[in-house]
Amino acid sequence: MYNNILGVFILVIKVDNLTKRYGNLIALDHFNLEVNQGEIFGLLGPNGSGKTTAINCILSLLKYDKGTVEIFNKPMAPDAYDIKKDIGLVMQNVAIFDELTVYENVDYFCGLYIKDRNHRRELVEQAIDFVSIGYYKDFYPKKLSGGLLRRLNIACGIAHQPKLIILDEPTVAVDPQSRSNILEGIQRLNKAGATILYTSHYMEEVEQICTRIAIMDKGRIIATGTKEQLKAMISSGEKIRVELFDMDDNILQDLKKLPHIVSVEYEDNFLIVKSSRGKNNLLAVLDYLKSNNIAFGKIYSEPPTLNDVFLEITGKELRD
């Protein structure tokens, strides 16, 4: 998050007021982003919110209408080769040669960065081990499953051990085993010193691995912070679900009068109570039920999720 020795933040990516239009559609609307060295920075947004567009503009793969992008404190441009050499990109779509084997593919893309053959051989082997596809080294991509292809895609993007790694939804349409393999790998890369920019529309993933998160919608960043900070921003707190078999309107009305309670609903034999921030909300609800001799079954208490954050800011679900 920050340089421990000096105790100051070192900026790796700095994006100011980036604006990108596709005809009438504003894909990026005064988009701002700061990623510090050593972070796993999550860019969370629903489909079509502009994540890929943002990455393409940051990397100068796409022309944009307005704004500035700096990487490693230098302005990014199509011919900024000295910046490019330290970046690794894992694209949303698998981008590899069907005509080359797994090994040849990793070797090719690593070779775009590393000229020295011996050094490269080492790096390629490491990258292949890293995503655990050593067994498939001599396979052609046509023979690989979707999950393995994504792992190969990642190996191709990171084999040259870049300082900054950008991953665009690397876990889309991936089996659970490959997914945890990928997430774990990203954390290992980070530990090894790489700064990570990670986009996803899965809030669980972002919560699981990211040290800081920006939530975006319709081309704008709507909130940035650690997951704790983000959750603290919103008014709703934990969600309490209690199994109840008898129910009447009085109970609902009474519960609504309790402090910090935002909403009370009854659905499928479950009482759902949403509270605002504050402690002991669960106890208060259970006390009420006990003292009125209302029998209840299972009890669940869920802390707020990033979905709740998104819901409260935008008025819609993160995933629909």
Partner: protein, 392 residues
């Protein structure tokens, strides 16, 4: 040279389709080596007919003269007078015509009696007609002298006939130059080369470009430190090496079949013309490669373009059979000019300055085609990828 290497790995992965065209070409090459004759010029005299002369009569002067005359106009082959051996020879086409002189032929003939020479031939062979004519000519001339001059000795008769026929030969033989027919065949070889070469270049170049033009792979290259110039250089080098490789493969059979001829002025001109043709073929392939989107479209394009241009330019059909309008239309393809120059090279006896000039014009036009196609490709590429930054 990563990109360059990848270029050829992709070609390698598509080698099967390319091999098919090479096999078709080799098949055609073998075909013309054996049977192809210029349909506009049906003279079969250019190759001498393998003939066996068997004499059951005495060794008369008359027959000696006939044998001598045949040997001048056909290949006399020595095969023992044995039915089995003769039949085998016919069957394997070692000989095409067997002349058998019956006993008592000379005596009867000198007396003016009706007597025939027996022949055995390969069925449906054009050469037998030629041999029939040849023998009839000799015997008819002889008859003429026998009936008009009395008491002619055989030696005198043979002298007269010899004189007559040697005069006549020059007048009667339509095209005494056997080289000409060979040149026509060589021309067909090089004409057909246009088809296979073009098809293979379209296939190969498209197979590679379709891969490198995938938007995601372009991005991956664009965000790497590989400079755009370097990448383009390797790509161009790949394309040119591929084209030269294909050209070399296509001309190897010509050296095997025509040997030293390929080092004569005409042979070298054929080679020059074909390598120049390779350039527009390559750059048109490059253009097509940047338009097509799918593998199916590649094979369709390579078929349609190579077959189509070759057909209207007279690769498969002699030019004289093609209509005026079609040829005008064809002149908008490089194949037309290539074939035209091949025609000039094949058909003239001695290259005149004027012919050289026509060939050079053809070369110039082919080069213009190459540059035009390249320029159009650049414009298309630029249009396609605006909005996308093209750095590296």
């Amino acid at each position: 040279m990563l990109v360059y290497k990848a270029f050829f790995k992709i070609i390698q992965k598509n080698i099967l389709q390319i091999l098919i065209y090479i096999v078709i070409f080799l098949f055609f090459v073998v075909l013309i080596a054996n049977t192809y004759t210029d349909p506009t010029n049906m003279d079969f005299k250019e190759s001498k007919v393998n003939t066996v002369f068997i004499n059951h009569d005495e060794d008369s002067k008359l027959l000696e003269g006939l044998k001598e005359y045949i040997s001048q106009n056909a290949n006399l082959i020595d095969i023992p007078d044995d039915i089995q051996k003769l039949q085998d020879a016919l069957y394997f086409r070692e000989v095409e015509y067997i002349v058998k002189v019956p006993k008592g032929f000379t005596e009867a003939f000198m007396k003016g009696e009706e007597i025939r020479i027996e022949k055995t031939i390969v069925p449906d062979s054009a050469s037998s007609v030629y041999m029939d004519n040849l023998i009839n000519k000799y015997l008819n001339t002889a008859r003429l002298y026998i009936s008009s001059i009395e008491n002619l000795s055989q030696q005198q008769l043979v002298n007269y006939i010899g004189e007559d026929l040697s005069h006549e030969t020059e007048v009667l033989l339509f095209n005494p130059d056997p080289e000409k027919g060979k040149n026509i065949r060589r021309m067909y070889y090089f004409n057909f080369l246009a088809y296979s070469l073009f098809a293979i270049l379209i296939l190969g170049v498209s197979a590679v470009m379709i891969v490198f033009n995938q938007p995601d792979l372009r991005k991956r290259h664009s965000c790497s430190p590989l400079k755009l110039k370097n990448m383009n250089f390797q790509m161009i080098l790949g394309n040119i090496s591929f084209a030269i490789l294909v050209w070399l493969i296509m001309i190897i059979p010509s050296f095997i079949m025509y040997g030293d001829y390929m080092f004569t002025k005409k042979g070298l001109l054929f080679l020059l013309n074909s390598i120049i043709f390779t350039l527009p073929a390559l750059s048109i392939s490059f253009l097509i490669a940047n338009i097509v989107k799918s593998k199916n479209a590649i094979s369709a394009a390579s078929n349609v373009v190579s077959l189509g241009t070759c057909f209207i330019s007279g690769v498969f059909v002699p030019r004289d059979f093609l209509g005026e309008t079609l040829l005008k239309f064809a002149s908008f393809t490089p194949t037309y000019w290539y074939v035209k120059s091949n025609h000039i090279i094949a058909n003239i006896d001695r290259l005149k300055e004027e012919d050289i000039r026509s060939i050079l014009t053809g070369i110039l036009i082919m080069l213009i085609f190459a540059l035009t196609a390249l320029a159009i490709t650049m414009v298309i590429k630029k249009k396609k990828y605006t909005g996308q930054v093209s750095g590296s």
